[in-house]
């Protein structure tokens, strides 16, 4: 019997509905889970995506692209296959793809997290027979601290740097993580700690978030700031690829921090020669993965993108039918870029 989804040379394909999910080469019809570049490839003839992420996807795949936007939960029939999108909690407009055909239900999670995030709709468990899950942080060492603690740590670091007369350069992925930091850093406070500047890659996505009605702390594009700017009180948000570049020179004495799930491991921080690591991720941690898998009620789990082998082995030992499937990245995961490897983050 043919499976509802198959892994092809272009990615996951639904033959019955004739569409791909997050294909890695241009195809006729692509259902996109979210606008990170490793999931949204330009050049397809038609795209289907969740409405809140439409503008982000357009920025990624080009203004002329044919994008059909669906509200979360809104069904679409494609050759008798019922397709709907449901919040994944990863970034603005991120979606799980639910596919139903002949009474069988599949859900492709894309990237997701279970923690609340003021910049996007919260993850919704969707019941299914087969759940295709990511596994970026699929080891039990990955367990996220409460978000409020992490923001307090970031503020304390920033305050200590201000006192020492150093600029605070905080690296965060330019789409999603940077905006989550900007939405959360002053949440519940009545005052701002100081001016926040952004790298161009971050600023572009901030504009799209604000246009979508997401409240972010005010920011100034660093490259547009006057030459005489005093950076010693500033927080500067930049993509990780800006570390060590010419662009950093303008800030004078500075301390560097990185907001990422990888910062849970000391070695990952020390290898990058960063002063501080802040553990905040837009991916599910180990308990999150297990909880999402459990709540899906799926009897079969496909595991993609990350620590596939340990997750599959663990699930099998728990009695779940699990299988590892290839991701678009050939070879094995290199942790240095796995959390949203984003080509738009190269250069200033």
């Amino acid at each position: 019997m043919d499976l509802l989804l198959q892994l092809t040379g272009n990615g996951l394909y639904c033959a019955a509905g004739d569409f791909y999910i997050d294909p890695w080469r241009p195809v006729d019809r692509a259902v996109i889970t979210h606008a990170h570049s490793d999931h949204a490839c330009a050049g397809s003839r038609a795209y289907i995506a969740a409405r809140p992420g439409e503008a982000l996807l357009r920025a990624r795949v080009g203004g002329e692209a044919a994008i059909q936007a669906l509200d979360y939960g809104e069904p679409l029939a494609l050759n008798g296959v019922r397709v709907s999108l449901h919040p994944a909690g990863h970034i603005l407009g991120s979606a799980q793809v639910r596919i139903e055909c002949g009474g069988e239900v599949w859900v492709v999670s894309g990237d997701y997290k279970l923690e609340p995030d003021p910049t996007c709709a919260a993850f919704e468990p969707v019941a299914c027979d087969t759940f295709v899950t990511e596994s970026t942080f699929g080891l039990p060492i990955y367990r996220w601290p409460p978000e409020a603690e992490v923001f307090a740590e970031i503020r304390n670091w920033w305050a200590a740097n201000r006192q020492a007369g150093k600029a605070s350069v905080l690296f965060a992925y330019s789409l999603g993580k940077a905006q989550r930091v900007l939405a959360g850093i002053h949440a519940g406070l009545e005052y701002a700690d100081g001016p926040i500047y952004t790298h161009g890659a971050v600023e572009n996505f901030c504009r799209l978030y604000r246009e979508a009605g997401i409240a972010l702390a005010p920011t100034v594009h660093a490259s547009a700031a006057p030459a005489a700017t005093d950076w010693s009180h500033a927080l500067i948000l930049a993509p990780p690829s800006a570390n060590g570049t010419q662009w950093m020179r303008r800030f004078g004495p500075l301390s560097t921090g990185f907001v990422s799930g990888w910062m849970r491991i000391r070695g990952a921080r020390r290898r990058r020669s960063l002063d501080r690591g802040f553990v905040l991720s837009d991916h599910a941690d180990w308990p999150g993965l297990m909880s999402a898998i459990h709540k899906s009620g799926a009897s079969r789990v496909w595991v993609t993108h990350g620590y596939r082998a340990p997750v599959v082995e663990w699930l099998r030992q728990q009695g779940t039918d699990a299988l590892a499937i290839e991701t678009r990245f050939e070879g094995e995961q290199d942790e240095t870029g796995a959390e949203s490897a984003d080509p738009s983050e190269a250069g200033p």
């Binding site: 080891l139 039990p140 060492i141 367990r143 849970r264 491991i265 000391r266 070695g267 020390r270 290898r271 020669s273 002063d275 501080r276 620590y307 082998a309 340990p310 082995e313 663990w314 030992q317 070879g331 094995e332 290199d334 942790e335 240095t336």
Partner: protein
Amino acid sequence: MKAFAELYAALDATTKTNEKVAAITRYFSSVPPADAAWATTFLIGRRPKRLLESRKLAQWAMEESGIPEWLFGECYQAVGDFAETIALLLPPAQSSSNLPLSYWIEERLLPLRDTEDEARRASLVSAWREMDERQRFAWNKIITGEFRVGVSQSLVVRAVAAVSGLDAAVVSHRLMGDWQPTAAFWMQLVAPAAGEADVSRPYPFFLAYPLEGSIKELGGVGEWQVEWKWDGIRAQLIRRNGRTFVWSRGEELMTDRFPELEMLGAQLPEGTVVDGEVVAWKNGEPLPFAQMQRRIGRKALGARILSEVPVVIVAYDLLELNGEDIRERPLEYRRAGLEEIAPPDSALIVSPVVLADTWEELTARRQEARARKVEGFMLKRLGSPYRVGRRRGDWWKWKIQPYSVDAVLIYAQPGHGRRASLFTDYTFGVWDGDELVPFAKAYSGLTDEEIRQVDAFVRANTVEKFGPVRAVKPELVFELAFEGIQRSPRHRSGIAVRFPRMARWRTDKKAVDADTLDTIRALLPRPVDATPP
């Protein structure tokens, strides 16, 4: 434990020495003396005898976390640090300990010495439950004896000097020798006037800097005393109160390892401290360092090993004469004293002075180094005092060029700590006919960027996996440098080298261009006398 865990985190969060010293100073001035004493112990790399086996610790951590062994292994691979892996895997913390470090060591850790496994397990699991995640990590670091946080002894000395107002040299001296980490010790350490000097206490070693730039920049050859640089174990031989002590540079008391030197001590005048190199020595010349390692490796020193590998101390300097600290006196004065106290035909050989009228002559004589089985020259400025630690200016080491060989990367495995989950530990092969035989392992010498490139190569070119070890396509060629070479029946190539490291990535060479085992065999010294198998 709170303050100590915070200290660990603060030290871990910076690579700047000033910030580290500031963090240690803050810690010392805010905790009870017993805590300061214990922290000093750990920071300078001493530790109580290891009480718990890693295997057991891992097993208890797995039980407490509900993690099977294979998954623990996967996690350890990703983290690269045992103590950290456990801290990350334990169930989320429910509490945090306000009890002092000394309580955790003295009341909780040390008593485990006299208990059975079950009681140890219960005590350890309970300790984990009483601590938060950071505390668990610092605690695990202590109990596994892997306490490395990038703090050198000199940073600790600076911090103690800062809180006590003492001179760093005084603190250094007080930290040497045998002491117990107690509140009383800490009070003595920071006390204004020197307390009773411990009879066994050595002086801090003065270490030479490698010579940079041209030898001519040192001025006239006549301003320098030149000696051969011997390859052995740097040590101080102390004779005080009718007793003899031998300290290694790693501050290990090694008297009982060297009965020859203990006998020598009895021939020295009261109140003598000699700085020198303990060298395996036979028929008037050094034995290969591997022989010394063989001897050090023996638990019991039988008559056979003592006669096969006898040791001497090749004396460099005299630090104490007739009970007086003479380190501030000029080199010539100390050298004269050394020659005067040296007993004839004993296990003390005064390091011979090499005479040369010009730098050119000296440079030429440096070529004798390999035949003499030494590492090169030591240059000591006449008139200079015996200083503390590694300082530029008065002592230089001028080593001979290392051996070098082009070899092919054949195996790689992930490193530890900041190199975890990167392939950084390499095995290199050289040609034996049309086969590459493993020849040396090397871990150091590449830049971070080069490591990343090699890591990517390993991932893309793995041909076989053996546990964490990858066999890779033989393609990358590196120039390996090493100091010594000798025959070894334990190595497949039949050769063992000393201090191998990567000198250069030879991107200009292909695997076929690498050296052969025959060329390397040609570097072997001719057999001296029949060394026992």
